[in-house]
Symmetry: C2
């Protein structure tokens, strides 16, 4: 079995580069300088660059018995693409840093690269650079930096939501969290779509620029849970957000989620489940969301004036408790 | 003693952000969106962005008994700034990813941030984003991504060197490697300038754009050693490089390096010592290097036609062996 310690860095790079290069053809216009020099050069036609970084740590952010290298590559890339989308930008390039125990199997590292490359291809954003380091025994850390271009759009911040806006979700809710519940209960990695949504999500990152074009006042992706992420919007914008429990139940919790988890846990995951990376936007009332191209947007609530309790997120007027659904559902 | 596990992420960020923000004032023109949203937005006035990433791993890239958190912050930032400089670009922003054992002292993490912030301030490149993750026991990984702008300059690649060019170095050689030798021999972290050069280097990154303006045909920073890094230029450019042993001895090895290490080891470190991050450029013959602003450039060799032996680096016509100096010096 071939291990990273059996290869020197240049030999490993010679195997990794083709995986990335075959996945996304790099045009000289978009990527004047690709991997292999001191740094990459990417076109920034909009005159600015969107930048974000996010990593995954073995044993903390994934378990090898659940996630393949490919899954990890998909997920770490998706997390970054969602952050670029949540600014209203188009991804333009990725940098990949891998810190790995030299005993790591080469096949795992190549599988990781294939997962990153597949997602890069899906997004049309080439891998333009990176870094390889050896780490202590058992340690694997994968860090991706994603760059994006606004294509002349204004960035959509967390701070722009205004009373009267509608709140809408593009993509699923609760599936990743539901998949984690299933895995913890013993489900196998290929068990069902919930588990797959947790291990290798595919949120609708193309809809970030769509939301910007539609006049979104605020936009985030669901990283830590709908209520938590909207709470950040509420605080940054100085507003209150009230969600519609019926819509969340009927449009997001019903179906596979409720079938797998039961009603209470399904609704909890819709409100509190993280790592979904769907987009949540605030839009001026009257925005014709049904006319937007791409994945549909579902109105899930409204933005209101901040009250005496300060910026907050409620569901049908009630603050959900830490487990989200219990308080929301009532006795 | 306060540990990272005693703080939640937002409490730690609330301590880190001011360190970065106080260090480099962020103008709304240069940084339309700073830390705290899904991603940052940086101006890219040149219409492109230079991007590179490089990390350091505790126990591999530094030892706590030698390097303070501040030292690690300086060094990981400098490594990235040097890569931006080696493209001929000006640094515009940094992203910082920290994976740390929750038992890591908070004071260490703040010291790390101060080192990053001090270097960011020195370079005028603000920290605009990042990521925090918990890691396994004993693990600390710091990964920095640096972004830069060419300000309308063309990027200076490794592949542009041409026969007839002169090879010139801006900054020191062998001091970081010499400092490592001293530390391994038991020197204390504050012992002398060699040790300090290893722990917290300050290469002349401002001279990257200067080299580009002067018409440099190729440019790299000394990451892995002068001969190794110039070997990459030779292969990418399809040329041979011959270095002048007398100049390397008289201008780089003499003085503190020879006093500390002796003649043979000093010359070895000049040729083979890594992590110096000085700049090495190839320039058309006749370039008036003495007229360039900033740190002086010292001509150390010439670019020639590739011979039957292929692209390579020689010293006074002789291929240095793996230890660099032994073969070069002769019996």
């Amino acid at each position: 079995m071939e291990r990273l310690r059996d290869l020197d860095e240049s030999a490993l790079l010679a195997r990794l580069f083709p995986l990335y290069e075959d996945a996304v053809p790099r045009s000289p216009q978009a990527v004047p300088v690709g991997p292999g020099d001191d740094a990459a050069v990417l076109a920034a036609p909009g005159g600015s660059v969107v930048a974000t970084t996010d990593g995954m740590v073995r044993g903390r952010d994934w378990r090898d018995e659940w996630s393949s290298g490919h899954d990890v590559g998909v997920k770490v890339t998706v997390q970054n693409l969602a952050d670029v989308a949540a600014m209203g930008a188009v991804p333009t390039g990725l940098l990949v840093s891998l810190v790995a125990d030299p005993d790591t199997e080469v096949s795992w590292a190549l599988d990781l690269a294939r997962g990153i490359a597949a997602t890069a291809a899906d997004a049309g954003a080439p891998v333009v650079g990176g870094d390889l380091s050896s780490g202590p025994a058992g340690v694997v850390v994968v860090t991706v930096t994603a760059l994006g271009d606004l294509r002349g759009r204004r960035p959509v911040l967390r701070s722009g939501a205004r009373a009267g806006d509608v709140v809408a979700v593009c993509g699923s809710l609760g599936r990743s969290g539901g998949g984690l519940v299933r895995l913890l209960a013993g489900a196998l990695p290929g068990a069902d779509e919930l588990v797959r949504a947790h291990l290798a999500p595919r949120p609708p990152w193309e809809s970030g620029p769509v939301a910007s074009d539609a006049g979104a006042s605020a936009l985030v992706d669901v990283s830590d849970g709908l209520v938590t992420d909207l709470g950040r919007v509420a605080r940054a914008s100085g507003v209150a957000v009230d969600l519609d429990g019926r819509v969340l139940r009927d449009r997001f919790a019903d179906g596979p989620l409720t079938a797998a988890l039961g009603t209470t846990e399904a609704l909890h995951q819709v409100l509190a489940g993280g790592e979904e990376h769907s987009l949540v936007g605030c839009f001026p009332a009257g925005t014709d969301l049904a006319a937007l191209p791409g994945e549909p947007w579902v109105v899930v609530g409204r933005v209101g004036e901040v009250g005496p309790a300060g910026p907050r997120v409620t569901v049908d007027g009630v603050v959900p408790d830490a487990r989200g659904w219990d308080h929301f559902a009532g006795p």
